[in-house]
Amino acid sequence: MRRTLLEGLRSPLTESGPPLDDPEMTELAREVGRASNAYLGRSLSIRHVDAGSCNGCELEIHALGNAFYDLERFGLRFVASPRHADVLLVTGPVTRNMRDALQRTFAATPAPKWVIASGACALDAHVFRGSYAVVGGVGFVLPVDVHIPGCPPNPKELLRGLLALMNGKKPT
């Protein structure tokens, strides 16, 4: 048993950060260290809000915490309340039934704050566009700073988006 427990410690699984294949991303990444250090001291608190997703996005956000991606090494962490958050990471098309709750969560988040719309649904409701039960993308309800594409965005895409946010963009 002891062997099992120590195995993970002997050979770390953590991978190096995601490759910055996009020229714009490379440019942003150069800014990340300086900007996030200057503004937040390499500490960004994220509150996730599911505004109506199918749960696919949540599974991949969870994966950010596993030993392969180890989100916290980037100075990013998930918090339990919007009142502790700098960033709202919003998934899903905003359903009409979640609109109020999303707005109230945003109102409960202290300024300065950012909003990331994560996933294809959060951009424009994706396959759920046009439904009577859906308002639309997150941008219909909140000011969005960064959008992360993908259905669902995989952990590397999520990391890229989160790193891109820390470019010292003026918060709302």
Partner: protein, 481 residues
């Protein structure tokens, strides 16, 4: 004078109430309602159809409570009223849509409704704790209303529907291809199971069969999905007892499963991989090798994690006799999946209504009777072993040939019952002559598990709610649709 349909409906309701049959689903289709029942010893489900020209039908829930939320949904979506219903409150309709009865005689919303009335609990010292819809973790939204006496929960009432996206409405008139894309997004953690259920229902409606290789590949994907979810949740439940080490190890294994899925099929969760008529991507020899390696890794590591669970008394102190679900309730509600099987309900759609390739594979359906968090964890652990066995057999016996055929453009009706990781998923489809969807219904296993979570928490302490809830792991999006 009762019509033949109405008579059959009443008789079916009697059987349900007497425990002679299990309710599989209850759903609307325009101005009519449908019911699906499972009876022991029958080779297929019984389907009933009842036209409702007056906009009403006799309530099933009046005699059989598991039908209640389904009837409330029919009232919300179709404006068909269950006469004699014990609970006429809306369910999915939170008074936020611009219309009423989107799937029936649609009309503008009109006057706002009175505020939703939660059930009450009264007594000295009782207090309420409202939780959600936005929760503290990275999970889906829903509202839980606790009535507590000190730390002890006297009553929990769920209020769901927050993620309702109008899937039934979006499917109506859509092509089967688009229907499959929507079905893949009913509940992201069960995307493979929903894709299979949708494809099988469509194939049944059109009277075609997917090639053998496609059916076997579907099973490979289904078992990989089951593994990913069971492993991830095994760690997450232990984490809710503050045993974070298990989450760390299970997180690594789950990631290895998802990476193997990505390498073998081209998507980590395997979305949009299955279509009526077959599967989208064939599995290459490299893919078979990747999955084979994954199986070896899991067979090596997972038993050691189970052993760790089995030898950690402080962890079992939190799981044993916590959140007990009785056998009587599991049976009455036709509670599927590991939740039902941990409470003694011996049902698995892969065995009860066998579909290819499961009729050619040997596997066991684990069952326990304690009904607590511990039993649900053990069922998951056993099912992981079984899925690994099934995967080995499926890869070894994978037939050669086509993995997809073209489907004809014609109409029909069909249904399917598929065992997802969470339990049996039911899909019923009615297809127009031009090949578009006339009516689509998908019933997540959570419909018959969520109400039982309310029962399982009673008498437990509030602080144990997260671990009990996670041990059920019901779907929000799957039941909200």
């Amino acid at each position: 004078m009762m019509t033949e349909h109405a008579h059959a409906w009443t008789e079916a309701t009697r059987k349900l109430a007497a425990g002679e049959a299990t309710l599989v689903s209850l759903w609307g289709d325009g101005q009519s309602v449908n019911m699906a029942l499972s009876e022991p010893g029958r080779r297929d489900l019984d389907l009933l159809h009842l036209p409702c020209p007056e906009g009403t039908f006799p309530s099933v829930a009046a005699h059989h409570p598991p039908a209640s939320r389904l009837e409330r949904t029919i009232a919300d979506l179709h404006s068909l009223v269950a006469v004699g219903s014990p609970d006429p409150r809306p369910w999915l309709d939170h008074d936020a849509w611009l219309i009423r009865a989107p799937l029936g005689a649609t009309k503008p919303r009109g006057e706002p409704r009175p505020r939703y009335a939660f059930l009450t609990a009264e007594g000295p010292g009782l207090h309420q704790i409202p939780v959600g819809p936005v929760h503290a973790g990275i999970i889906e939204p829903g509202h839980f209303r606790f009535h507590c006496s000190g730390e002890t929960v006297a009553r929990l009432e769920e209020r769901l529907g927050y993620t309702h996206k109008g899937v039934g409405w979006l499917m109506r008139g859509a092509t089967l291809d688009r229907g499959a894309v929507l079905a893949a997004r009913i509940s992201g953690d069960s995307t493979v199971a929903y894709q299979i259920a949708f494809a099988r229902a469509a194939e049944a409606a059109l009277g075609v069969e997917a090639p053998a290789r496609a059916l076997w590949l579907r099973a490979v994907m289904a078992e990989l999905e089951r593994l990913a979810n069971h492993i991830g949740d095994f760690g997450a439940v232990c984490n809710d007892a503050s045993f974070a080490l298990m989450l760390a190890h299970c997180g690594i294994l789950r990631e290895r499963v998802l990476r193997a899925c990505d390498a073998a099929f081209g998507h980590r969760l395997m979305m949009d991989m299955i279509t009526p008529g077959g599967v989208v991507n064939d599995l290459s020899d490299d893919g078979v090798y990747t999955i084979g390696e994954l199986i070896e890794t899991l067979q090596d590591v997972f038993p050691r994690l189970v052993n760790l669970y089995d030898n950690t008394a402080s962890l079992q102190d939190r799981t044993v006799r916590t959140g007990v679900l009785s056998n009587a309730l599991a049976m009455q509600y036709g509670c599927g999946g590991f939740v039902g099987r941990a409470s003694g309900r011996d049902f698995d759609a892969r065995r009860a209504y066998p579909y290819a390739p499961y009729d050619h594979l040997a596997f066991e359906v684990p069952r326990r009777i304690e009904g607590d968090v511990n039993a649900r964890l053990w069922i998951r652990a056993h099912e992981i072993t079984q899925s690994l066995d099934i995967l080995e057999q499926a890869l070894a016996g994978l037939p050669a040939g086509l993995c997809r055929i073209d489907i004809p453009e014609r109409g029909g009706e069909g249904h399917a019952l598929v065992e997802g990781f969470r339990g049996d998923i039911f899909v019923a489809l009615r297809v127009n002559e031009d090949g578009t969807i006339a009516n689509a219904h998908a019933r997540d296993p959570s419909w018959f598990q969520w109400p039982l979570l309310e029962a399982a928490i009673e008498g437990n302490i509030v602080a144990d709610f997260p671990i009990i809830n996670k041990s059920f792991n019901c779907s929000y999006s799957g039941q909200d649709l």
